[in-house]
Symmetry: none
C-alpha cells in the first residue's frame, strides 16, 4: 500500500519527462511494478493524477461493476478511460507524460509534483499557486470542517 506526501518542483525536459522524487519512490510498493496509470484531474483542478498500478487495479474492480447499458455510467466510463494511460518508469525513475495531458494541464518547462495519499498529482506550479490563492477559506477553517467531526 503506497502513501505519498510532500512536494517537489522539477523540470520537464524536451521529451516530456518528469522525474519522480526520490522520497516518493521509497513509498512506492513493489506490487506497483514501477508502473503508473495516469489520467486527468477534475474539471476545476487542471492537473494530472498518477496512480501506482496496484492502486489502479482497485479502481478497475469498481469500474467492472458498472452497467454499460446505462447511459450515465457509460458516459462516466468513457470520460475516465479516455484520458487514462499506462506508463512505466524508465531506469532513472522518470514519468513520460503524454503531450495531450501536458496541454490539458498547461504544464510547460516546470512541474510541481505533489504526493496525495494513494496517488501523485502533477501541476503547473503557477496554476497551483492560483488554485491556492483562489480559496478564500483559510486552511484552519476547512481543516476544522473536514477533520473536526472526527477524533484524531
Amino acid at each position: 500500500m503506497s502513501f505519498f506526501k510532500g512536494r517537489e518542483i522539477y523540470s520537464v525536459d524536451t521529451k516530456g519527462r518528469v522525474n519522480l522524487p526520490a522520497k516518493m519512490r521509497k513509498n512506492l510498493s513493489p506490487e506497483a511494478n514501477d508502473t503508473f496509470v495516469i489520467t486527468r484531474g477534475p474539471d476545476d483542478d487542471p492537473c494530472i493524477y498518477a496512480y501506482p498500478l496496484d492502486e489502479w487495479k482497485k479502481f478497475e474492480e469498481n469500474l467492472k461493476k458498472l452497467n454499460q447499458f446505462n447511459e450515465q455510467e457509460r458516459f462516466f466510463l468513457r470520460t475516465l478511460l479516455y484520458w487514462a494511460d499506462e506508463i512505466v518508469l524508465d531506469k532513472q525513475f522518470r514519468i513520460s507524460v503524454p503531450k495531450s495531458l501536458l496541454d490539458f494541464t498547461r504544464i510547460g518547462k516546470e512541474a510541481l509534483i505533489l504526493g496525495s495519499m494513494d496517488h501523485i498529482e502533477i501541476w503547473d506550479p503557477q496554476i497551483f499557486e492560483n488554485y491556492l490563492s483562489k480559496k478564500t477559506e483559510s486552511y484552519a477553517v476547512v481543516a476544522e470542517s473536514v477533520m473536526g467531526i472526527r477524533k484524531l
Copy 2:
C-alpha cells in the same frame, strides 16, 4: 481478461483499415486469437464496438438469456446481430472495417480508438468531441456515487 483503456487517433487508409494501438494489443488475451467481433453502438452513440472474441463469448451468454418472444428484446437482438461481423487482425494488427459501419459512424480519414474496459470503441474524432461536450454534470454525479470520489 482484457481491460482496455486510453485512446489514440489513427488514420483510416483507403482500404478502410485502422490500426489497433500497441497498448491495447498488450491487453489482448491470447484466447481472443487476434479476432474481434464488431458491431454498432447504441443509438445516441454513433460508434463501432469491437469485442475481442473471448469477451464476445461472455456477452453471447448474456444474449442467450434474453427472451425472443418479447418484442423489445427481439428488436434489440436483431439490431445488434444485424451489424455484427467477425474480423481477424492482419499481420500489422489492423482492423478492416466494413464500409457499412464506416458510413453509419461517419468515420472519414481519421478515427478515434477508445479503450473501454471489455471492448474497444471506434469513433469519428469530431463526433466524439461533440458527445463529450454535450454533458458534464452527469459525470460528477456518477463519479461520486460510484467511485467514492468527488470528481476525477
